[in-house]
Symmetry: D4
Subunit: 207 residues, 8 copies
């Protein structure tokens, strides 16, 4: 039986950023570090651009896992921030679930480190209680391709949809005319090839 | 539950070519450029060879995305051509949907740039309203393998079938005897190994 | 809904070898040629070893596609051999379907060149009429990984099971005690690492 | 229909280690040997750490397949150990099935060599009789990526869940506070990057 | 001791195309077929564009190696064409050496199939008698990367310079102002990304 | 004969940035775009940080090649900027050579797009007249690995040394004590893993 | 200074096969096993075909390294066979050096397992005393690409030439007319693509 | 001119381990972490086994770079340990050079993190003053393959020899009979495939 097309609706989306911590990031080896940093910050930027309620959570900030990456912390000064005292699955933390419920949204975008644990566990838990779950695959990192594909498989079979930050931005925006400049800036800041297109175009057009 | 075998039927197929624009093509990095160009033109050639109604659409032709690649434009001078004023999902454009409906076909072959947006969004929309959707994977390009596989996964789960241009040509043609020379020419023009086989064969046979 | 475990039963299996022709093999680029040759011959050897009814078919033997590889022809002198006059999908050939029916078997092992056409089309057709279809993935070759994965996806969604020749041999044999030497010889001839293990073992044991 | 979230429960889990034998390990080429050795021993360590009932089995220990790797044998001196006299599918061995039943557990973690046979066959058999099966993909090795993905596909379609040893450990542990040091030691011993994080942290903290 | 910079001089260059035959091309597996075909034809086009004396040679045209690829034959109707009766090293053929000498050029561009034989042997022979040899690496194909790198190493150590067709064209042309359109057309025909740049540019400029 | 160790000396180094133009960058496919952008900007930052005389040059800015990337233009407002009217080898442009001479430096760091032309040609020319040439390999991009390695080979054989931006920065700086914070900031801005180390360290240290 | 072209001369070549033992072969992971087995046997076949004096040697046959692979032993029943009692570098064994000298040849083809030890050590020793050394790279295996390239680099710098079995055969044979059928059989037995060409050719020609 | 064969002599070798620090190791991405950890510890073990004088050095231990990995510190309690206060090139530190001189050895084995800086700089400096330098490539890590190959190239051109830990151990040991068990233990501890061979052998032999 095919999954129906659950389309992202900017009025019904919340973003969960799970354990993007300075120590844990050294475990991520299924992406080049330059690309992964860019993808995570792009997701942060789009959450901010679309004004999506965003929840940040960390695991053991005070230990080797390290603090939340400062850029994200700076970007969401007023967001719910749930430093978990020990629960590995963020969904086992009552404050976290309460924060999700408080958004009143039904569609959850989840990204985190590492994919098969910090992303997969809350994704599976959220699916089990009826949320629509969209995993942002390119802002979620893990040890290698075997762990990644095992995680994708488990989440997909449970009903999650796999998306990437660019697809998310496009599905939320719907129509360029809603704000050409805003979306263009987002892409220019995070897609070098797009930035080049824009700069080439601007050079010729301005003549 | 297994999907039933929906077999391509040349009397019931329309082709949707979405956003193969000269600027956007620089974003495609999951294929070598020589191969991708060949695959897109092969799909154009087969659409023409089988006389399939073909719909071309672009996004923001006048901006950095650039115009439709001239070869495709030249190949389908009489095709429906829908330059979208802003809708990212082509299916959100009424003229586009009308053009699809006007073909009277139920099976849609979709290819475009980039896969997770320009292909996936109309594919999901078309599936939702009952079309049989076949994604031509090797004529659809995107940023990298993570975005590709995320897009394939989302479309497959929603009921799309993944095919490639060679498979499409073979399933449409059914029997070499329908036109040996025509199909052979299509393959010779787009599969160098096949061309070599034919040239080797011709050399020996003609002696 | 999970697929039930349909286990290969040597009394209920037929093997379909589709279009392993000397010309078409030059199209196969998702396997190294040494490995692919070995896999195809291993499948031939196991069909013979287990006494499975085997059907050979080719497409346009007299043209550039070239003849059936001589090793397979020699290995199955009495097998049904259906040179198709033009049908691309072997299942569209009545003689081929009749030959399959004549085996009286319900489980079909299919391998061929190229995967998305010569394997996928008869696999989908056979599934549609109720056969249990097992694709021998490593004895089936195609242009590249995009065509391979598109074909695997389409066949899997339709109900096919993906296996490899080694798995097939093991599932058919069930128990080493049925014939240690026979199975060992099959593995020694087609798995260099296994051959090395046996030779090392024999050297020490014989002292 | 999405699979429900069956969550690992340390009171309901048994571990099946199938055919990790010194000879057979030379067949494993889809992992680097250093990494694979580490993954298998990590799974052994976690089974021991969580006190999970563990069943070891081998195929033809006295022949070229070689003995069980000594580290595993040493680690589970009191575990059920079933050297199979010939059955390829461990589930065809009555003692093995009895040992599984004797654990009284419903959730089975399975790993072994090679994936498409020694893991897939008992996984499919166990699913068929109602167990929840979790394949530990990174402690299961095989010839190459084609055999791996064919095996993953077959098992997934039949209802198995794909996990990796790190995910298993995290899902079983649930909360770091249950034993910070124990889990930390497990990770430090088997994840070099984590060990480095801990050592860096300790160095600064102790000043 | 560093090699001095021997710069290509269009008045002193001859091109040797060795054994680009329809059969032998099926041996080439270190390049994707679409890309390799493009590279070879690009080299042919540049030889023609710069009016470089070009020598074509083949090995056993009448046997399985097959005829020279027809496109090259058509492109150089008046070029020296030396079908060798048996010599594997083209430099062992007196007519071939005479043809090279007859050009009066000192700088030789060599490309062919397969790299370690048809290219390396005449390259080494030509170096030994004092020619400056430039191997066009991307128009020379072979079995795999081990054979390629072994061949590159042997030729480089003997004094050959490794270049690619694009570098050759640029070093011969020296200055765009010599013929902007001609060079631009060459690049547009053989570099899809460059063609896209030109088409995008033309679209904006023409407004 | 081994090359002597010519060590970078910040008082004797000039930087040549050749053709990093918005159009030409779409040709670069031997690096992921995120990484390549980062590498080029890192080289710009280090040139600025060490106060190295820097020369910028472009080829046909007004055509499809596009303008210099704006970030570099902004970073070096007072640098020599030589838009070449047509010369492909920047060293064929008298103004460029004059600008190099005017720096009075003997050690040249060269980076550009594409490696085998815009980098290799001036590198070979500069070597021929006695400069010490250091190619910054990771800030120089090209079509693919075959063109890259051919270019590296040709330049190395002629006496160039291959370095990367990180090695250049370290060899110029010599001793962290010269300015810990400055070098640390450079690395933090362009090496995500280093940034993480610093942030983790800062978090613990500040407690 | 460029190396002169030392061309293989069948009257002046000896072959050294070092430590192709059934146990040691399990260490080889820079080649697929099917391909490596084929390459080693191809080298054996060509040595036999050209009647080259061949010396076989092993290290610790009676221990875990295992015996010489039986195929080679069978192929050279009368060859010098030097089971070394302990020397790791075969050149440290007086009998081995004596056997090499006894051939009276100056050009040595060396292949073995593992490349950086069993091949590199005798290669370096032979070079040091004036032999011309040709490493058969594709019949020499090792742990991974880092060890391979380190070994190639060390041997090349010391004066060895890198060749592959196919290049060796071609350089020894010089001219197809010396024996078309013999060389063709060698290639047909070890190059599946060549075999296919021959079979296709034969099929058409015989009509 | 070929480099002469400088053979490692255990009476004339010192080992330099440069900056294997817990923080810096997170920068290493040209090796899988499990494999790199194994390689570094293998080098430590062989230095200890052969009783080679070993010098350890670190850069900024108290900052983000982190302390020397504890295993190495523990393994060489009495070795010279030079924590550098700021010099990036260890050879710029007088104590380090003095420690090297104090060993009285002429052959230096160098490994470290990252290859193009911590290894290449002292390697080039040591070569410049007449040492024989052997880079242990697989115990030296860096950001990616571009930085690795640039570093290898620069060091090789300056006269360094590239080796790996296994080759080093074999060249130092010369003859198994010097201590079969000791060398065997070293290999068994760091080469899983070798350990398996030994365990298989022991199992059969002990019967």
């Amino acid at each position: 039986m095919a999954k129906p097309y659950v389309r992202l609706d900017r009025d019904n989306v919340a973003v969960l950023l799970v354990d993007h911590q300075t120590g844990l990031l050294s475990l991520v080896r299924d992406f080049d570090p330059d690309k992964f940093k860019n993808n995570v910050l792009a997701l942060g930027d789009l959450a901010q651009y679309f004004g999506l309620p965003t929840i940040l959570t960390t695991s053991f900030e005070d230990g080797p896992n390290g603090p939340l990456v400062p850029e994200l912390k700076a970007q969401f000064p007023d967001a719910a921030f749930i430093p978990r005292p020990g629960q590995i699955n963020a969904w086992d933390n009552e404050d976290f679930v309460a924060a999700v419920k408080a958004t009143g949204k039904k569609q959850l975008l989840i990204a985190g480190v590492v994919t098969e644990v910090c992303v997969a566990f809350p994704a599976l838990s959220a699916l089990a209680v009826g949320y629509d779950v969209f995993v942002v695959t390119d802002a979620s990192g893990t040890f290698n391709e075997v762990t990644r594909h095992s995680a994708w498989n488990r989440m997909t079979e449970a009903g999650a949809q796999l998306m990437t930050w660019f697809g998310v931005a496009c599905e939320l925006h719907r129509d360029w005319r809603n704000d050409v400049e805003g979306l263009g800036t987002l892409f220019s800041n995070h897609i070098p090839d797009y930035r080049n297109l824009m700069n080439s175009y601007a050079a010729v057009s301005s003549r």
